[in-house]
């Protein structure tokens, strides 16, 4: 038992150390660049940049809130349809959600323009309209659609853990399907819904790919950071903008801590009772959520078909001829980066899962002092645009004692750090729904901390493992911003090749690489999903 205690303490020390070195240090290094040139210069810089960026901050908040609301609405619809709705619709919309998680940045937005632009295959080709796809509507729509996958998984896990006996009891007492949903289910998943909203909001305001492609004249802080780095190579100015983003995110996290306290109280004691009559949702909520889920499935399906089609045709428009040359080009070229990308992503997913479980456990279960600070520290990399996190990594790891620039290790590390908070969230939500009494009972029976974690908690965390692995692997496969500054010629990955094709305007080739990446990622995800088990129903 003494040995086990040391084991747990060792794990804690390791987790704290890793978060400090790979999450906090690079972020601090990047933000510190905003102070370059002494206090007077820095103050002037802050005044100038912040002053000029106020409208951008407004834009970021505006599109971030709308995208998060949309994303949560979609995720709720999909998760509820998956749990309590018609089988076909549930499966279709969950499939679409899984697919949308594996979305190569930029490409979905380009597909959107191809479909709904001025000469869009749908808006112009079928409907005969000529609409302008650029602006905040496109940004909100694409972010809402493509950021909802993680939310679907978190919500599905949450729904899966609701005590079915509660719903059965309510039904027996004469409550309708819609009343049970609104009065029993909704209050229980509200904390998760809030967590989803905040997570999406933070992700939305730090996303630059979507506004860069379809924002048009609509600029956000994140797209401005992109211009600052790519156009002006101005690290200090970009750092100031990052401080602005972080300030927004900190406000959001502070609000969340307040809400979380409630969440614990509400969720405590809910445990799967197993069995019971299957609950089916009815009434207005069922109709509304059903429509949203169906629309989502159709929309995502059409976008992916557009990407798929793009990989197999030459040129644009409905009459573009069929070709295999894009794939031929891919085979003729270097396949090593594809394989390398898979290895990096798999390592990142596994490490992220373990580290996320550890952080969540120490913060939520052990509730050690400073645990909210610890959780926040783990979340900081998620709050910055990937490019800036990458630059922070260069600044931190370009010299001894920890010279990692140019290695594969730095890429795995940045991929883990970027998504760590999603993993922490998944495990935190799951832990919140496992009653503490169970833990205490095991302790009374003489179980040490490690075996309590392994035997009591772990079996209840399988959904969280699945969420963490799936999200970790998919986002690592598709992450571009975080790695663009870190890849060296010898550590180039598949996504970098995709970007090379996009940057030189070869959409067909880019789409072909995307199809390959998507297929690989989906296959790996399917295996993970099976292994980790699909919920407890």
């Amino acid at each position: 038992m003494a040995l086990q205690a040391t084991g747990a303490d060792g794990a804690l020390a390791l987790a704290v150390g890793l978060v400090a070195v790979f999450s906090v240090w690079p972020v601090v290094a990047m933000l510190a660049r905003s102070l370059d040139g002494g206090p007077a210069t820095a103050a002037a810089r802050y005044g100038e940049v912040v002053g000029a960026s106020l409208p951008l901050i407004g834009n970021s908040l505006f599109s971030g809130i709308l995208a998060s609301l949309l994303s949560c609405a979609i995720a709720l619809a999909v998760a509820v349809m998956g749990a309590f709705g018609p089988k076909g619709l549930g499966a279709a919309s969950r499939g679409a959600a899984l697919l949308s998680m594996v979305s190569p940045p930029f490409l979905a937005s380009l597909a959107y323009i191809q479909l709904f632009g001025r000469r869009g295959l749908i808006t112009h080709g079928i409907l005969g309209l000529s609409v302008d796809p650029y602006g905040w509507v496109g940004v909100v729509l694409m972010q809402g659609l493509f950021f909802c996958a993680v939310n679907v998984m978190l919500l599905s896990a949450s729904l899966g853990r609701i005590d079915r006996r509660l719903m059965a009891a309510a039904t027996d007492l004469g409550a309708s399907g819609s009343r049970v949903f609104l009065d029993v289910v909704m209050p229980l998943i509200r904390p998760t819904l809030v967590a989803c909203f905040l997570l999406t909001f933070v992700r939305s305001i730090s996303d630059y790919g979507t506004p860069v492609v379809i924002g048009g004249a609509f600029e956000t802080v994140a797209s401005r950071i992109y211009v600052q780095l790519t156009g002006y190579s101005d690290l200090a100015g970009a750092a100031v903008l990052n401080v602005c983003l972080l300030a927004c995110a900190v406000a959001v996290y502070w609000a969340r801590r307040h809400l979380d306290a409630k969440a614990e109280r509400l969720a405590a004691g809910t445990m799967d009772g197993g069995g019971g009559t299957p609950f089916t949702i009815t009434g207005v909520p069922a109709g509304l959520l059903g429509i949203i889920a169906a629309a989502f499935a159709v929309f995502v399906g059409v976008l992916y078909l557009a990407i798929l089609r793009c990989a197999f045709v030459r040129g644009m428009g409905w009459d573009a001829p069929f070709t295999l040359e894009n794939f031929q080009h891919l085979v003729d070229f270097d396949l090593a980066p594809l394989g390398r990308g898979i290895v990096y992503a798999a390592l990142a997913a596994l490490i992220g899962c373990a580290l996320g479980a550890a952080v969540a456990y120490f913060c939520r279960r052990r509730q050690m002092p400073g645990s909210s600070l610890f959780a926040f520290a783990a979340a900081t990399p998620y709050m910055l645009p990937g490019t800036c996190l990458g630059l922070g990594y260069i600044l931190s790891f370009n010299s001894e004692p920890l010279k990692l620039t140019g290695t594969g290790a730095i890429i795995v590390a940045v991929l883990v750090a970027k998504q760590l908070t999603v993993s922490v969230d998944a495990f935190s939500n799951a832990l919140a729904q496992v009653p503490r009494d169970l833990d205490r009972a095991a302790a009374d029976l003489g179980a040490g901390e490690l075996s309590r974690f392994g035997d009591v908690l772990w079996p209840n965390l399988r959904e969280a493992v699945a969420v963490s692995l799936l999200n970790g692997f998919s986002s690592a496969m598709m992450a571009y911003g975080a790695v663009v500054f870190l890849v060296a010629p010898r550590t180039k990955t598949g996504i970098v090749q995709l970007f090379d094709a996009l940057a030189s305007g070869r959409y067909g080739y880019a789409a072909a690489i995307a199809v390959v990446l998507i297929t690989i990622t989906l296959a790996v995800n399917a295996v993970c999903w099976r292994l980790a088990g699909r919920g407890r129903r």
Binding site: V212, T230, G315, L391, K403, G406, P459, V484, P489, A503
Partner: protein, 356 residues
């Protein structure tokens, strides 16, 4: 049920063990560092290249064949390279910078991030196509012109523009697309050349009128040509080279403006402090000292503008009249960049942040 639980915990346990093992490996940084150090030592003779796109593989293969030095490359836009160089603080993770707008090379040289390369053939460059102190060399130029979509022009009733002076006509309102000159080196060249040719006052007046016809500026250099070919806008201001050939159809064609094409030299340089800086120097000398290698480069780039940089090169002819180019003082491009872009930002701001 009992069996189920134990199988579950088996899987869960197995899943937990794998990352723990990996973590243990990662926590032990000494070992992973050692491995990468070994890798570096064994590949010391590898040339690490940052290039604008991956089509140069054939050229790098030729170099490897001639000199026995393997080449690995990754593509990155020149602005990103500069950001990365500045963050790396003198420890670049690549040796050779191959391609990109010369303004970024000028900025890097000014920051002391490039290594001069002296070799006999450096004397062959025409004036302005290498830095006076041999910090960078041009491997060609990128010319700027228009791409037009006839279908859309028919809709708006405007003829295809033939010259820069056409673009400010009201019939092209909201029908012109251009990349931000901050992001696109070629479009910076266009703005700088217009200012140099029309003069400060008339130049800015022209740019303001042009600005009124452009709904927004895209943030990637390839956007104008692809957006025009997708039918999103009628006219794009874009680099002109044969990589655009794939986009051209009966209704989509490029235009060389009759009042001159701006151009931007395309740079090559060695990174100061790079692990294999000698390899980078060797490559530069190898490339520019042999007509054969330069011809291969021209074939890959699908353009013969290297002839402008090295006029003595035989067997390569420009595919346009040199007089079609605007007159430019490239030596000023680096110095004037900050001021021009700042003024540009002021002129277009309110536009770039405007809500639609």
């Amino acid at each position: 049920m009992k069996f189920n639980v134990s199988r579950r915990s088996f899987i869960a346990g197995a899943a937990a063990l794998v990352p723990m093992a990996v973590l243990a490996g990662c926590g032990n940084n000494a070992s992973s560092d050692g491995a990468s150090a070994n890798q570096e030592a064994s590949s010391d003779k590898t040339l690490q290249v940052v290039c604008t796109n991956e089509s140069y593989k054939a050229l790098f293969d030729m170099f490897t064949k001639d000199k026995g030095m393997p080449v690995e490359f990754v593509s990155m836009s020149s602005g990103d390279v500069l950001s990365k160089l500045r963050a790396e603080g003198g420890t670049p993770s690549a040796d050779l910078w191959f391609g990109g707008g010369i303004d970024s090379f000028m900025a890097a040289a000014k920051d002391g991030l490039l290594e001069p390369v002296d070799f006999p053939a450096a004397d062959k460059f025409a004036e302005g196509f290498k830095s006076p102190d041999n910090y960078w060399f041009s491997k060609g130029v990128t010319v700027v012109g228009f791409i037009a979509n006839d279908d859309l022009l028919k809709e708006t009733g405007a003829p295809a523009p033939a010259a820069w002076t056409d673009l400010v006509k009201s019939e092209y309102k909201d029908e012109i697309i251009m990349s931000s000159p901050a992001v696109s080196g070629t479009n910076y060249a266009a703005v700088a050349a217009i200012l140099q040719n029309m003069g400060e006052i008339d130049g800015w007046k022209y740019l303001e009128e042009l600005n009124a016809n452009i709904p927004f500026y895209t943030k990637r250099g390839s956007d104008p040509s692809t957006r025009v070919s997708q039918g999103e806008v009628a006219v794009g201001i874009t680099y002109l080279d044969r990589t655009l050939d794939d986009l051209l159809t009966d209704s989509i064609h490029t235009i060389q403006p009759s009042d001159g094409m701006p151009y931007m030299p395309d740079g090559v340089a060695a990174f100061k402090g790079a692990a294999n800086v000698d390899g980078a120097k060797e490559f530069i000398e190898w490339l520019f000292s042999s007509d054969e290698n330069l011809k291969e480069l021209a074939a890959i780039d699908k353009k013969n503008t290297i002839k402008l940089c090295i006029p003595s090169l035989e067997g390569v002819e420009l595919d346009f009249d040199e007089k079609a180019l605007m007159k430019e003082d490239i030596s000023q491009f680096g110095e004037m960049r900050d001021a021009v872009l700042e003024k540009w930002d002021d002129m277009t701001s309110g536009k770039e942040v405007k809500e639609k």
